[in-house]
Amino acid sequence: RGFPKYATLSISIKRYPRAASAIFQTYNDLLLAQQWSEIEIVDLPTCGRCGFRGRRPENPNTRTCVVPCSLAETISMTWLKSAFGEFEQPEEVFLAINAEDSSIVYYKLSTGITKPPV
């Protein structure tokens, strides 16, 4: 039920050891806690990690993109722009910020200035 994916995930974990913890924890959270479906692993070589694309239960008609990172990292605008590029320019990307104790906070990043919905 998603277990075959762990084999593909372990390839990414070995390829990007510095981001391994964030990758693994984010994948587990999306699959089991956030209950996303059809999660695919997207390679983001410029960002030194892999990201994910899948369907949220609240929004099953679009594919949402997530890039994992850890709280201790500093990331630049160039890094974020390349993430958008490697996901083929979606409207928005979620940044999954992982803490050492496995807490994850998701920040929504949009291209350009976007007014909040309410």
């Binding site: 693994f24 924890q25 089991l32 806690a33 239960p57 803490a99 050492e100 104790d101 496995s102 309410v118």
Partner: protein, 382 residues
Amino acid sequence: MSSVNQSQSRGNSSQKKGGRKRNENNVIYANPLPITFSRVENRFTVTALGIFGISPARLLKPQCKGTFDPITRSVWITDPKDRAILWRRGFFGKGNLSRSEPSWLVRQTNIRTAVGRQTTSEEVTAKRRAERKQFKLDRARGIAAAAAEAESAFAEGRIISAEETKALIPSAATWKPSPSTQNVTLSFLEQYQGAADLDAEPLEDMEHMQLTFSEAFFLTWALDCLSIRRPNALEPMTLPEIWIAFQTTHLPPHLQAYSSQESILRPDNPFLLNYFFFHHYRSLGWVVKNGFAVVLIPVYEDARDAESSPFSLSNSEPFTWQWLSTINRVNSQVQKTLVLSYVTIPALSRVSLTELTSPACFERYSIREIIIRRFVPARMRD
């Protein structure tokens, strides 16, 4: 008269409810640490031995088992009894799919069965967020209505007073969730249930509890109630093995291959700093968690060590005013006092390699605390 009696009895019953919940919590969370003392029934023995300063009560140490995971730098606890003991006696650990206490299985079961729900903290938060969203929608509608009203009044040449405008816009203090809000959250859950009903196989608990290295080492070394093993090993790891393994995971990947060389051990290893900090505050009775309002600031005794260090420790550079102001403001908003904790790292030249192979090296570290509060002139009385 009768109405006064009614309100009194209502007040009493709600007090009883609150009191009962509090008493339950006092029973569940009675022990501050996993170790407990056995009860001794014979009062005569207790008193007799007490004269000699001896207690017949035995120290009971639960033997919990954990698995070492270098990728997430944590120790996993999977056995449900061990998870409960460690959480309830000292709030050790965190569920990897939950906000704090492992509650994933409960939440998944709640989604599948509407009857007999046990509310979890995540569900309370979700409900609060849905209500807040509804409030924002109502407020936006109110603002739009007020604006339309103002436009039409302007066109007619009327004047609308400020009070009338305010009356159209709901305020956070007086807004109440309408029955339609509850229907929205319910229908969302029903959607979930519809999908989940198709999957009627029994739920396997996919969540584990995660202990940080500091918590795990504290439980193993200081309290001796946890044994840690590598994923496919039969034998638990020995304390020296754990000591080295925990430090090795903090090394950058290219240095980890040399982990058997003891020259890799350095006093500024993040594990040593985090553990020293954790042990200090745990011994004072605090429960140390991520997001704690005490900031660890490492201070190098010898500046050359900072340059030769393979770790880039956060907060070791002098901090900027922006950083301090940001941290201070965020902590004040969540009503936490900011404490800066300066941990001094002994110079490599002063610490011998033998000391670094065991917790004896902690004697060389020291800690100083500085409390910072915002001074807001408008709110100070003098």
